[in-house]
């Protein structure tokens, strides 16, 4: 085994180990919070948010590793888009409520798409996590049919994406390290989008600042 392959294997098993530890930490926090009368303390909320971010990040890394290490197809199912968007909203309901953010879901209830629900959920959660960090008070999740594609949008009213991110030129510069902006989320999103194919058509993502809310707009197109 090459040095490189060996390293990536060690990396992967460490990430997996990390995920298990994180799971334990999260369940301990939860138990502690439930046992405490003052569980609404902001510290617990922050712990929840930050460990959820870590969890989402580790999940993405693991899925990317699995994709890299072996060939596998997304497990396609017919899903109702409204259900998927609402689920993301429900998952974030605590943070939304605490920070008094208004999160709107707009989607017709008869829009359906074929996708791997679990993978797409991981993408959406990570993008919404990001939106939660940058928005001022509003996030909008929407879904619509656009030509041959189903388009899922996440918009916010924050400062918007930087030019570098939108152009896809902004990698991880040394100066960016430690600022919580690794480029992982977007890389993950575009990888998963592309994995979804229907005949000749593949999924893709677009980033722009044309949000009706005035901030960033992330769009995921599924064939």
């Amino acid at each position: 085994m090459s040095q490189n392959a060996k390293f990536s294997q060690i990396l992967a098993s460490s990430v997996h180990d990390l995920k298990n530890s994180l799971q334990t930490v999260r369940s301990l926090i939860r138990t502690l919070a439930l046992e405490q009368a003052n569980s609404e303390k902001p510290e617990f909320q922050i712990l929840d948010f930050e460990t959820a971010r870590m969890n989402s990040c580790v999940m993405q890394l693991l899925i990317l590793y699995r994709l890299d290490a072996s060939h596998f197809k997304p497990l396609l199912e017919e899903c109702r888009v409204l259900d998927m968007l609402e689920e993301v909203g429900y998952q974030q309901s605590l943070q939304i409520q605490l920070r008094q953010i208004s999160l709107a879901v707009e989607c017709s209830d008869d829009l359906f798409c074929f996708c791997d629900d679990t993978l797409i959920n991981t993408v959406l959660v990570s993008v919404v996590n990001n939106a939660l960090r940058y928005c001022r008070q509003a996030i909008r999740l929407s879904g619509r049919q656009q030509g041959d594609y189903v388009c899922l949008c996440i918009e916010d009213d924050g400062p918007g994406f930087s030019y570098g991110i939108m152009a896809g030129t902004q990698g991880v510069k040394s100066g960016e390290l430690g600022k919580g902006n690794t480029g992982l989320g977007l890389h993950f999103a575009s990888t998963i989008a592309e994995l979804h194919s229907q005949g000749q058509r593949n999924g893709f993502i677009t980033l722009d600042n044309d949000s009706t809310l005035g901030g960033a707009r992330f769009s995921l197109f599924l064939p």
Binding site: R30, T31, S39, K73
Partner: protein, 562 residues
């Protein structure tokens, strides 16, 4: 408000409780969770949904006890329950013992998303998986979604629950016409499965192909593979299952079907390898471990068999599928190399299966062999006598492999008279089961009775063919009464013969179609179908016959009521 239980009254985001609260009010909920704090948290969430009929269980046995006492609408079950049964074992037992009503929603709570993939037990899937941590909104949303699905499919599930497949199909077809977009694909999946059940492969195939034209849904591809398997097109089936495993490396169902396909092709080494890979991915499924153990044992791969038997015994402690056969299999492996461990295993088996004649018989047969190898002839003969007594008591209630084992031991003990008598009975009843006859020939070879055995087999087979031909001829001549009598007599002397049973049912069904119908006739056919099912006629065949009967009796009922 506490951290994980969002208090719903003050919740002001767009995610509001829908009007479903009313219909949820009457639902009975069972929460199975070992950790008290977690249990309390879930209970409070459910209380918040206005559901007050809540039962709690901290472990598997109390969960099963609760389900015996009460019929639940919703079971929320944690997978990891510490020692004792896990969630999957609870689900298996509940389904096996029919403790869950057809309208019940079973939600399995797992610690991580990937876990749900590896849990894949052979046939038992929960209605829904939920990953921890979850909050009240998520839980309510899942409960609502599943309840409305079950309500929508209620007619179909109810018909299935009572074994009436043709009625289930009728309901399914009616619902498909409603064009409910949310349920349509699900209904198609169900409809194809029902078509397979009654042997209507043409329709099932058409459904799967139409679905696949829309999108590559793996259950549709799997369905096509299953149809190929059932139509004996094993090379096509194998290609499909292999492709599925390649595309979806965690799809355990594809492994199980591939193993079956290998087995049907006589490739037992291939079947063993496939099962071995599947158990490595998911070691918790006892049925798969048992299958692997038997297969490896047959292939002489004793270390793999030993490991699988041990795992199955261990899993059996908490599983409804535990079997004395696993102990016997392990003891048999030991008997060749390690008499002490063999006797110890048998002792464990006896204490666990005390008073179970089948287990006692297995133990006595193995002891006969082990003591013989230890040169303790006195104990060996004593064990043999016990075995013989138990064998007579059990009669044809003992499984065929065990009866063959008894015959082998009789030959080895020089008790040819007893062996021959038993053998004749066994062959008469199973002459049309090729796999089993192979096992019979193996025993005859090993005990030096090949020549004499072949003669016996030929004679019995001829008798059988004669009877069958006679009955079929009479039937073709339209002499249904006499044809029935011929098969009736045959069924009395060969009560376990599957060909006779099936032909009997077919003739009676024809009679029902063409002649006068009455409740007694229907009852009689039902009895034969039940017996055929009990004696291991293939599930697909049974369901096909059952569907015909249901159809006919349905017609009678509707004409009677007109």
């Amino acid at each position: 408000m506490d951290l994980f239980d969002v208090s719903l009254d003050t919740f002001s985001s767009p995610f509001k409780l829908h009007q479903m609260k009313q219909s949820l009010k009457s639902k009975k909920v069972l929460i199975v969770e070992d950790q008290a704090t977690m249990r309390k948290a879930i209970r409070e969430m459910i209380y918040g949904f206005d559901m007050k009929l809540i039962t709690e269980a901290a472990n598997g046995s109390s969960a099963i006890a609760a389900m015996r006492k009460d019929s639940f609408d919703i079971v929320l079950c944690d997978y990891n329950l510490g020692s004792g049964k896990n969630g999957q074992q609870i689900l298996e037992e509940a389904r096996f013992r029919k403790l869950l009503p057809f309208y019940a929603v079973f939600i399995m709570v797992t610690a991580e998303q990937t876990q749900s993939m590896v849990l894949g037990a052979m046939d038992n899937k929960p209605d829904e998986y939920m990953t921890k941590p979850f909050n009240a909104e998520q839980l309510l949303n899942r409960i609502k979604r599943n309840i409305s699905r079950k309500e929508y499919l209620g007619d179909i599930e109810k018909a299935l629950d009572s074994g009436n497949i043709s009625l289930a199909i009728a309901h399914c077809d009616k619902k498909l016409l409603e064009n409910n977009r949310l349920m349509h694909t699900h209904l198609l999946k169900l409809r194809a499965q029902l078509a397979i059940k009654i042997g209507d492969f043409k329709n099932a195939k058409a459904i799967y192909q139409a679905v696949l034209e829309q999108s590559e849904l793996n259950w549709a591809t799997l369905g096509l593979g299953i149809i190929a398997y059932l139509q004996d097109d094993f090379s096509e089936a194998e290609a499909i299952f292999r492709k599925l495993i390649d595309d979806y490396p965690m799809m355990l169902e594809a492994f199980d079907w591939l193993a079956k396909t290998h087995e049907a092709q006589g490739d037992f080494a291939g079947a063993q390898n496939t099962l071995n890979e599947a158990t490595a991915l998911s070691p918790q499924a006892i049925l798969r471990q048992q299958k692997l153990a038997t297969m490896a044992n047959m292939n002489g791969e004793l270390s793999i068999a030993e490991k699988a038997y041990k795992t199955a015994i261990d899993l059996g402690k908490n599983s409804v599928h535990h079997s004395s056969g696993d102990f016997a299999g392990l003891a048999k492996i030991y008997s060749k190399t390690d008499a002490k461990s063999a006797l110890k295993t048998l002792k464990d088996m006896r204490s666990l299966y005390f008073g179970n004649p089948e287990a006692e018989l297995r133990a006595a047969l193995l002891e006969t062999e082990v003591f013989h190898q230890l040169a303790d002839e006195e104990s060996s003969v004593q064990a043999y006598q016990t075995a013989q007594k138990l064998s007579l008591e059990l009669g044809n209630k003992a499984p065929t492999d065990l009866r063959l084992e008894m015959i082998k031991t009789s030959y080895l003990k020089g008790d040819d008279k007893a062996a021959n008598k038993q053998l004749e009975q066994l062959i008469k009843n199973h002459a049309d089961d090729d796999h089993f006859m192979e096992d019979v020939r193996k025993v005859l070879n090993e005990t030096g009775n090949a020549q004499q055995g072949e003669k016996l087999i030929a004679r019995i087979k001829k008798e059988l063919v004669d009877i069958n031909n006679k009955g079929v001829d009479l039937f073709k001549q339209g002499n249904i009464t006499e044809a029935t009598q011929v098969f009736q007599r045959a069924a009395t002397t060969m009560p376990e013969n599957k060909t006779i049973m099936i032909n009997m049912v077919k003739i009676l069904l024809h009679d029902l179609k063409t002649n006068e119908v009455n409740k007694e006739k229907i009852q009689r056919i039902q009895t034969f179908i039940n017996k055929a099912s009990q004696f291991g006629v293939k599930k697909e065949k049974i369901e096909h016959l059952q569907a015909q009967l249901n159809n006919l009796s349905h017609k009678i009922n509707s004409t009677a009521s007109q």
